[in-house]
């Protein structure tokens, strides 16, 4: 595996057409996000939609551009659950305090 010949014949799944399509959909989703900013939606609704769209875009990038969809399932199980676990641990501490701040704003506007 030390010489570069080793990697020459490795098969790389995913066609040019597929990547163009993923790129196209990422652009469409970006366009939708920008459109939301143009219409100036109510902040909470807008934030919810934006986070949802961003998660879809991130999933598209990880699955196709970063090839995770074509890897062994073990690699996916190694990376994604640990990331989700860490994020949940962060959110568990951030959310209650954030809600407390929102409540304080409502009491003392």
């Amino acid at each position: 595996m030390s010489t570069h010949e080793a990697a020459v014949e490795t098969h790389q799944p995913g066609s040019k057409k597929l990547f163009m399509w993923v790129w196209f959909w990422l652009l469409i989703l970006t366009g939708v996000e920008t459109l939301l900013a143009y219409f100036k939606l109510e902040p909470l609704l807008m934030l919810t939609i934006l986070v949802g769209l961003s998660l879809i875009k991130a999933a598209l990038i990880v699955a196709y551009f970063m090839h995770l969809r074509f890897e062994k399932i073990g690699l996916f199980l190694f990376i994604v659950p640990s990331l989700v676990f860490c994020l949940v641990m962060i959110l568990i501490f951030v959310f209650p305090d954030s809600l407390r701040i929102v409540a304080l704003h409502n009491i003392h506007p």
Partner: protein, 211 residues
């Protein structure tokens, strides 16, 4: 030994093959780094959200035209550079060295364009009085979080450009193989991915409500 098939080496993967994730160590290492880096960015974005929520005087300084449209264009540049990087990895695996090097360099040019346009935007904000520690339109922490987040991302893009240039040079000289190109591609797509969160959180949520 062109291909390592763990099923033939160790019976089944459950017996403990030599490559349980069927990737090379470079790729696994890069994935681990990206895992930790994504937590760095998540905490930075959450800290920004928390500080913004705590403030009663948070500015929304970005007009739809030109600031938000400019940021959308930056997103377009990054997404397109990701596409050329995918093409570079595919070409590298087909051992089309010349094509791969051109695609990698195109990706690097996209990165440079991103940094230049973003810095121009920064200087426009500096001219309007926004700095990391002062803000004419409200809470000074706005500058701290905005320049902190986008600066950390810009640092990643800049490092990525240097990384890609080294990979292009080494792959062109056949010192590196296609795996090196693929691993650098992982890093570049991650930088793109992070921008997919910074762009809506920092720009779209801060579009000026006036006018």
């Amino acid at each position: 030994m062109a291909e390592l098939d763990i099923d033939t080496i160790a019976g089944t993967a459950w017996d403990g093959g030599v490559a349980p994730f069927a990737t090379n160590t470079k790729k696994l290492g890069m994935w681990l780094f990206l895992l930790s880096d994504s937590l760095t960015f998540s905490t930075a974005i959450l800290a920004y959200a928390y500080v913004r929520l705590s403030s009663t005087n948070w500015p929304r300084p970005f007009e739809f035209k030109p600031a938000v449209l400019n940021a959308t264009f930056l997103t377009f540049i990054l997404l397109s550079s990701s596409l050329t990087m995918v093409m570079a990895v595919a070409a590298a695996h087909r051992s089309e060295v010349r094509k791969a090097v051109i695609y990698i360099l195109l990706t690097a040019v996209g990165g440079i364009l991103f940094v230049v346009l973003h810095l121009m935007e920064w200087f426009r904000l500096f001219a309007d009085g926004f700095t990391p520690w002062s803000n004419p339109k409200g809470d000074p922490l706005f500058g701290g979080t905005f320049f902190g987040l986008t600066g950390l991302h810009m640092l990643h893009v800049s490092i990525g450009v240097i990384y890609l240039c080294i990979i292009a040079f080494g792959f062109g000289k056949r010192k590196f193989n296609a795996d090196h190109v693929e691993v650098s591609g992982l890093y570049w797509h991650f930088v793109d991915l992070v921008w997919m969160f910074i762009f809506p959180m920092v720009y779209l949520m801060s579009v000026s409500l006036k006018g």
